[in-house]
Symmetry: C2
Subunit: 339 residues, 2 copies
DNA sequence: ATGATTTACGATAACGTTTGCGGCAAATTT
DNA sequence: AAATTTGCCGCAAACGTTATCGTAAATCAT
């Protein structure tokens, strides 16, 4: 069990000051070429690894960014994470990952802890669309830049990266209409989720554009946004008087429940009922029939969020915002003529 | 832009020493009840968040653990990560996540950086099964405990959490045999991956146990272990003279390629060819026909790895090892009588 | 040659904590 | 009543860096 190498030790062995060692290793000016070489060589030989903790204490900022996601194992968030981690790694930035589990209070706590760790910035996928304390804590009080991803409060003014959920829903529903479906239901997410709200609005907008009547009985609101609810609401919808002939769901996962219910009811997708999901999860392309869905470029969103954060560290004025356009992937579940 | 709250500031306002503030906040002894209350109250009021960077510099250890995974967006790893993050959060431990991208040298670099960040331990899913430098760097030289997860070098002696890949493969193949399949192919992973090797050995073992001939032409080795290779090798297998009537794949993802190839060849699963995958990915239960596969409890593995690491921090002697038993999930893709 | 600038380095003080040591009352024991 | 323990607290030194400032020597311009 070796003792840990420090600059002090290198300085001692070379008979120079710690200051010089520091300068040499960080390739700053104010250090002679020979001494720099000597320091570098010895550092390599002794397998010196800089103590970034100490450095960031002194510099009052770290090369660590914090990431807070509602759920880490969820595929879409996992791809966002991938984008963040892989691009952060190129810059030698570390990523501290935490999970809010969709609990606003936890989210706020986590922001506090991240600040305590001197992270130089935070990427946050908020659980709700409220004006939130987390944001204030980070940005205004501690001057740590924050980039919101995927969801965000209304009238939010800061950095963000999202997809155009309104438009995504709109083209999904428009597509169903073009396929000849007449009564299109929507299984949506909570009211306090900005993405669910946007998708719902997009759904309404598409109906209006095509002179189709809006029927509140055809809109169901999930609590947990999972398969079980998709299953439950599909049964409810299809066993009611107002039987829809198409269902647009807020997520692919919910659509999985729709499929299951359809199977039990002996209904054919897409002949009897058309289905369009949201997110282009792995599953959607392999399920039978393949599920039409809206593609969200998770990895690129993660990368972009990281880049925004990085540049916000230097230039604090400019506000960076990016809306990725949603893309409709037409597959079997919504194409009537196919059969 | 407020200035950051520090113990010094709290001390100044209460006219006491920083020492006392520290002791009060960390609820140590040697501090009076009234002063403790006062400190706590003021800290809350000022929204003080401790600077953990400074603390961990002084204490020479942090409440941060490092996690290195080959790929973060891969479902199985994402579930492991979930297990780690959610249990770490309960202890107020932070998780630094990095990705080795299956590159051993990167893996080794990352271990170095994590050590530089004073992490108190590392959970590592190694890319290869070589005796690796990363491990030595962490454990022996710096005395930072490390827990390997999922894969590991041969003859590895330290802490680990894995599943019984040998047995998993064995029961998968045994199941195919019991279903009456006679020529069972195996699409496997790299030789230098311990899990691929174990599964391959399990495959061989099951054949031997059932007096079935081992035919090297029926074993294909992937380079990247993805859909494309599954597709490619399936075509190769089924267009050859030695046409198998069942395929056991090293992962569900590879099995996706198998499905695609089957579709193009007009072959029915499971009638013409039986398929069993590995990992119980989300997809497997929704694809048509549903894919029989081996379940790996990713979340529990992550949780266990974290617990091992935590307890290794206190008790450095004991070596902790856990092998989760693999579980066969029989679904449609391997059940012949169904049709 | 003389002054002005540049180069290369060191001494010192931070950054915000924790901790060993010691002080000094009050409380308790002998 | 003296001796000891206990409770509460502060001083000062760390932890391993980096930033600021100063300074001797070397180089430059005049």
């Amino acid at each position: 069990m070796h003792n840990k190498m420090t600059m002090k030790e290198i300085a001692r062995r070379l008979n120079i000051s710690i200051t010089t060692v520091s300068r040499a290793l960080n390739s700053k000016s104010d250090v002679g070429e020979k001494t720099r070489q000597a320091v570098m060589a010895l550092a390599r030989e002794l397998d010196y690894t800089p103590n970034e903790i100490a450095a960031s204490l002194r510099k009052r900022k770290s090369s660590i960014i914090g990431v807070i996601l509602p759920r880490v194992e969820h595929y879409f968030f996992a791809t966002i994470l991938k984008g963040i981690v892989s691009s952060a790694q190129k810059d030698n930035f570390a990523v501290i990952l935490s999970e809010s589990a969709h609990i606003p209070q936890k989210e706020s706590e986590l922001v506090g802890r991240l600040i305590g760790m001197n992270v130089s910035g935070i990427i946050l996928a908020p659980c709700r669309n409220e004006i939130d304390i987390s944001y204030n804590k980070s940005m205004e009080k501690n001057n740590i830049p924050i980039v919101l991803i995927d969801r965000m409060p209304k009238n939010y003014q800061g950095h963000f990266v999202k997809t155009n959920d309104f438009h995504g829903a709109e083209i999904a529903v428009k597509h169903l209409i073009q396929q000849g479906y007449k009564k299109i239901a929507h299984i949506r997410g909570h009211e306090y989720s900005s993405i669910a709200e946007d998708r719902y609005q997009g759904y309404c907008h598409a109906l209006k554009l095509n002179n189709m009547e809006y029927n509140p009985a055809l809109v169901k609101t999930c609590e947990f946004v999972n398969k079980e609810e998709g299953y439950y609401f599909t049964k409810e919808l299809l066993l009611s008087d107002d039987k829809p002939d198409a269902i647009f769901t807020v997520s692919d996962e919910v659509a999985m429940g729709v499929y299951k219910a359809m199977g039990e009811l002996g209904l054919n997708i897409p002949v009897d009922v058309g289905v369009v999901g949201y997110s282009n999860s792995m599953v959607s392309n392999f399920i039978y029939p393949t599920l039409s869905t809206i593609d969200q470029p998770g990895i690129r969103m993660g990368e972009t969020a990281y880049e925004f954060l990085r540049s916000a560290l230097d230039d604090t004025e400019k506000i960076r915002q990016k809306v990725f356009e949603a893309k409709l992937l037409i597959r079997q579940s919504s194409v009537r003529r196919q059969l």
